[in-house]
Subunit: 134 residues, 2 copies
């Protein structure tokens, strides 16, 4: 398995838009950025986003309806830990981290309750260090 997925044209366009952005983008923001590349409809973006999510190359931030490129593309987290996101409501910056203990505690809960987890979202909203001190 290669590190990088083989992407189609639309998938590459969408991924690059996210990769060059300095923060999360909404699907419609991506659409607008790609109109010059021939994008005309939301579905062109959403289909690409779905695949990129499958491939683990991007993340969806549920609490702000937006998407970011994965900041640790080399670690293949799928196998083990879940990822937490700290989202600054002032500057929009997103920081990604994972924590074995949190992952373990969640797994403990699901195991003891017979709950089969498929995806776990952890999003911390607030103000980042930079913005707080400014």
């Amino acid at each position: 398995m290669t590190t990088t997925q083989e992407l189609t044209k639309n998938q590459s366009l969408v991924f690059n838009a996210l990769a060059r952005a300095d923060g999360p983008l909404s699907a419609y923001t991506i659409l607008d950025q790609l109109r010059g590349d021939g994008f005309r409809a939301p579905l062109q973006v959403y289909r690409a986003l779905d695949k990129l999510l499958d491939y683990g190359m991007i993340h969806r931030l549920e609490s702000i309806n937006a998407f970011v490129a994965c900041s640790h593309p080399h670690e293949h987290h799928h196998s083990h830990g879940m990822i937490a996101f700290a989202i600054c409501d002032t500057c929009g910056q997103v920081t990604e981290f994972s924590d074995e203990i949190i992952t373990g505690r969640v797994r403990d809960w699901t195991n003891s309750n017979g709950f089969k987890q498929s995806k776990t979202t952890i999003e911390i909203r607030g103000v980042c260090g930079n913005c707080a001190s400014a």
Copy 2:
């Protein structure tokens, strides 16, 4: 401070709709349920939901754009722990729990990164024990 908030008419209607539901409801589902009570516009629902969220009487589930009545109305969690939700994608049932260790780990991370958290979302999606064994 009383255990129960003094609610306005619209707030009561919305809260009761959520309290008698056996799972999360979307704002528009609530609207439809309350048309008989004179509700006509989304804003009537959203305004009530905002207040109920403020009061800590309900929760918003970010990953499914829906709302639930708080299942532990007596514990005043605001002070200490954050709440995690396990959401069954099959039956829609939501289970609420809190975990001191997870709360602590998140606080450790925010403290060491100078991040001032205002709200943290933890949502576990999957299939509950009942549905998994069925």
